[in-house]
């Protein structure tokens, strides 16, 4: 339709593909649990950042706002992953 | 009777507006710090532990709760001042200022009842079976917490009206209205407290105590100080209007 619309469509496609990857591919038992989980969380963080920057237009936000939201994604991901990796696995 | 002799008593408005900070101070220090609710004893304690809590802090809880029962009425008085300022934005037919006043008034009811129950528990702890003290402790929490919807309506009404303010510099900064909506959102998970004894959704937990109560505390404090400022601005607006307009307003007050 128009040039400006194309990025949004591309981002939407990318998000859909990433979702399918984590839900129906990385979740298979063929992948080692830790690798698959870390990858899944990182992909989720990447998706969240895509939504933030492109759909919520934080990319064009005043810098302090942008930094705050980027920090949120970073902090939540880091916290989730570090707690996950510190959890002893007995299986 | 000369209509001009009637003018708005802004001093009284201001006095009632200051009831907000008074309420917050009383509750923070007497309910929170003095009576040992910061942090609360906890939903995970058994009957013996709760009874021990009441026996060990009996006098502090007794004084704290009885002062808070008196202090909760200040929330109602404060609600009147907020309602008056709201009426100046939404006009005499506005209904949200009524909702705000009802919300503030009825918010006092669970505060009064819960503090009354805890007060009684602190007095009766030495002679009642621990199971009853435990029940009273929980009863107070269920009443004070799950009554949140009354306050939600109040906060919601305040938020909407001040966002509709057409003044170039609104009487209330927009972020306070939005902070109010945050408070409303933070209140809903409080409905989970009957199901939890530990974790963030227990009545002493991260979410349903620390976040739900403190978002509200911040909201009341922010609204209070801006209402006090808004009253001065309304008074100035009155003075800036022509004397005949002021007279007309006084006339409207009499006939309407």
């Amino acid at each position: 339709m128009s040039i400006l619309l194309k990025p949004a469509a591309l981002i939407w496609l990318l998000l859909m593909l990433a979702t399918c990857t984590t839900t129906w591919w990385l979740s298979k038992d063929a992948f080692p649990a830790t690798v698959a989980t870390v990858a899944t969380v990182l992909i989720a963080a990447f998706k969240a950042r895509l939504v933030l920057l492109n759909f919520m237009e934080v990319r064009h936000a005043p810098l302090p706002w942008r930094l705050m939201f980027e920090a949120w994604v970073l902090l939540v991901t880091a916290a989730v992953l570090s707690i996950y990796l510190q959890t002893p696995m007995n299986t | 009777m000369k209509p001009e002799t009637y003018s708005t008593d802004y001093t009284m408005w201001r006095l009632l507006a200051w009831c907000g900070p008074i309420f917050m101070t009383v509750f923070f220090f007497m309910w929170g710090v003095f009576a040992g609710n910061l942090p609360p004893a906890g939903a995970d304690l058994d009957a013996a532990q709760i009874t021990a809590h009441y026996l060990n802090n009996g006098m502090a809880i007794r004084i704290g709760m009885s002062v808070c029962m008196v202090g909760s009425a200040f929330y109602m008085a404060w609600g009147c001042a907020v309602s008056k300022v709201m009426r100046r934005i939404e006009g005499p037919d506005g209904i949200l200022s009524n909702l705000e006043m009802m919300g503030a008034t009825i918010t006092c009811a669970p505060l009064l009842v819960a503090c009354g129950i805890w007060l009684t528990a602190s007095i009766e702890a030495p002679q009642l079976p621990p199971a009853i003290i435990h029940m009273m402790y929980w009863l107070g929490w269920m009443i004070i917490d799950i009554a949140y919807m009354v306050t939600t309506f109040q906060i919601f009404a305040v938020g909407i009206v001040f966002l509709r303010d057409q003044r170039e510099k609104p009487l209330m900064p927009a972020w306070i209205s939005w902070w109010g909506f945050v408070t409303c959102a933070a209140f809903f998970p409080v409905s989970l407290i009957p199901f939890f004894k530990t974790g963030p959704f227990a009545f002493h937990g991260l979410f349903n105590f620390w976040i739900a109560f403190f978002t509200w505390y911040i909201w009341v404090t922010a609204v209070s100080f801006n209402i006090i400022r808004a009253i001065s601005r309304l008074q100035q607006e009155d003075g800036a209007a022509s004397p005949s307009a002021a007279q007309q307003r006084a006339g409207v007050l009499i006939t309407g």
């Binding site: 979702t19 984590t22 998706k47 939504v51 705050m68 | 809903f188 199901f195 991260l206 979410f207």
Partner: protein, 194 residues
């Protein structure tokens, strides 16, 4: 170069009014705390959490993610249409986004019903407590979002939104994207952590 930077600085803005971003930031902070407390509880009780997680159907979660992503995309299209003054296109896009919201709600209801039928409720164990609480709080956000979208849709049908006037639309859109974003993170935490 300097003027271009200055122009860029001037153009830097958040969509909608700043107040809605106060709400979004506070809401996201709360969810962040909830995610962390879920992880800490999982750490204490790994075997139980892992066992219970297997009873969840990741298909539901995955499809729900796809639904919300698509819904967000429709909202992006609606805002874009308004900014280009294609006033007629705004309402259909919002309607599509709203239908996705309903679909998410229906799917969640089916999932809950399935759990309750097999005798699983919030009181079963700590995992399900978090599962129902977190998805329930999120579902409330979805329900509120559907109401927002309905209001925007009604206004858009009256031709309210165009390039000169789209602040309200932008506010609603930003909120709806946040609901999407929170689900993107919530879904793997509950369904996919191994």
């Amino acid at each position: 170069m300097a003027t271009a930077a200055a122009r860029l600085q001037q153009a830097r803005r958040l969509p909608g009014v700043e107040g809605v971003w106060v709400f979004i930031a506070a809401d996201m902070a709360m969810f962040g705390l909830l995610f962390v407390s879920f992880m800490l509880e999982r750490q204490k009780n790994l075997a139980l959490f892992e066992h219970s997680r297997h009873t969840l159907d990741a298909n539901f979660g995955g499809i729900n993610t796809l639904i919300l992503l698509t819904s967000s995309w429709f909202v992006v299209l609606a805002v874009d249409a308004a900014k280009r003054n294609r006033v007629q296109r705004v309402a259909p896009c919002l309607a599509a986004a709203m239908i996705c919201g309903f679909a998410f709600t229906v799917s969640k209801a089916l999932e809950y019903a399935d759990k309750l039928r097999s005798g699983i409720s919030m009181l079963t164990n700590d995992f399900y407590m978090y599962y129902f609480a977190l998805t329930g709080i999120h579902l409330l956000h979805v329900a509120a979002g559907c109401v927002v979208l309905a209001v925007l849709w009604k206004r858009a049908r009256a031709g309210t939104y165009n390039s000169a006037q789209c602040v309200g639309l932008e506010c609603g859109a930003s909120y709806w994207h946040m609901v999407d974003l929170l689900w993107i993170l919530l879904f793997p935490l509950l369904y996919l952590l191994r």
